[in-house]
Symmetry: C2
Subunit: 214 residues, 2 copies
DNA sequence: ACATAATACGAACGGTCGTATTATTATTGG
DNA sequence: CCAATAATAATACGACCGTTCGTATTATGT
């Protein structure tokens, strides 16, 4: 049992280099666009040399997906946990979520992109994407429940509904940023988040909104 | 100048059959997954026979995109215009937007899927996707402004912000439906929309929310 | 320093990709 | 009904796909 930060072997280093290139490529053109040849060219490896690090293209895609999850956790999720429980932590998460791709030098969040890319397909990659995003969804709901416990949110708000709208804000932010090249995208997402919070934080106000006819 | 509903030539009929198959395929696996060979097999044509209908694969993608826009307009947008101006028309649009893919027998809205698929790339397809969705965004904003004129919405709400959040609701609905297979997705989207409307329809309440610190 | 395992390479495979050219068959207007 | 034209097919091409295999090279542990 070696420590997680153990010295990397040559193979592990190469693998990391490959995954770095794969992640960058996938964040631009999608995971399905990953090709052994292009990736080999970019990393200076031979096709077969690169291929040997993964048993198949699907394994490469899965590895790239796992790597992007690891980076999201390291750059966005875990740092948010150091904020106080409740609303501050939620705010930190959404803030980090909207900005971590920049720090990671990626074109967009590979997870959300992979969601749209694979959501209507079958296979191992789709399953992995669903698993990862479902987990993130659950973590968000935990934070929402915590915010109820701390008194930041009203007890009677719909946790799943809140998470649904949260994911929508992130999705729209990505669309505004990438498709519309809107420089105000992040700001709009923050405003949307605060509006969402506002409708949940004040019990009286929240009750009014919740009980109106649909 | 023939009428738009003129009798179709054999070629036009075949082309329509091809586009139908292309649209279905694209709504499942994305526009980039469209291949001449697979499409030829599905339609019973030869590769070269099918190819002759489009000068290139890119033209095929663009034609499929245009076709999906035409269907969206026919099944979702135009019908919404028969609802009274203002909030009712907006409600009709979002309702149709969330359900038209079912009527069209597609796996998801090809436009929103194409947005996520091409938003970080370059090329004619990306440009077309941006053009189409920007137009839809503008049409949404027109409806929002109309709702201000009819008095349904407060005059001082941020039209672009409202449209931003509207697109987020649709995106989250698609994710919930397709990735999470959430049967309540449409319902959640409707609730989110009504919550969004609620924060814009009552002047006093809207003012409160808008002026809070961010 | 040496044995051994890890790592990378080059070449080749069968397939499929998009596309061009050339020929054949259907459709259609006069 | 026939000529003109549109529509489809047949065939082939080079490029790239993921993958396999045998071999060379390079680290690594002792």
């Amino acid at each position: 049992m070696t420590a997680p930060e153990a010295i990397k072997s040559k193979g592990e280093i190469t693998r990391a280099i490959i995954l770095q290139a794969a992640l960058q490529q996938a964040s631009v053109s999608g995971f399905e666009s990953l090709t052994i040849g292009t990736l080999a060219e970019q990393t200076g490896l031979s096709k077969s040399g690169l291929f040997a690090h993964f048993g198949s293209k699907e394994d490469l895609q899965l590895a790239a997906l796992d790597e992007s999850v690891a980076r999201f956790n390291r750059l966005a999720f875990i740092p948010a946990l150091s904020a106080p429980r409740g609303l501050p932590r939620m705010r930190a998460l959404i803030e980090n979520w909207l900005t971590w791709t920049e720090k990671a030098e990626l074109a967009t969040c590979p997870l959300m992109a992979a969601s749209a890319e694979f959501d209507r397909r079958d296979g191992a990659v789709r399953d992995a994407v669903e698993r990862h995003l479902r987990r993130l969804n659950i973590e968000c709901m935990k934070m929402i429940d915590m915010a109820k416990q701390t008194g930041d949110f009203a007890e009677d708000i719909d946790t799943e509904q809140f998470a649904f709208e949260l994911f929508g804000i992130v999705a729209s932010c990505n669309q505004a940023r990438n498709l519309f090249r809107d420089k105000l995208a992040t700001q709009r997402a923050q405003i949307a988040f605060e509006r969402l919070v506002a409708s949940a934080c004040n019990p009286q106000k929240a009750a009014k909104i919740k009980t109106q006819k649909v």
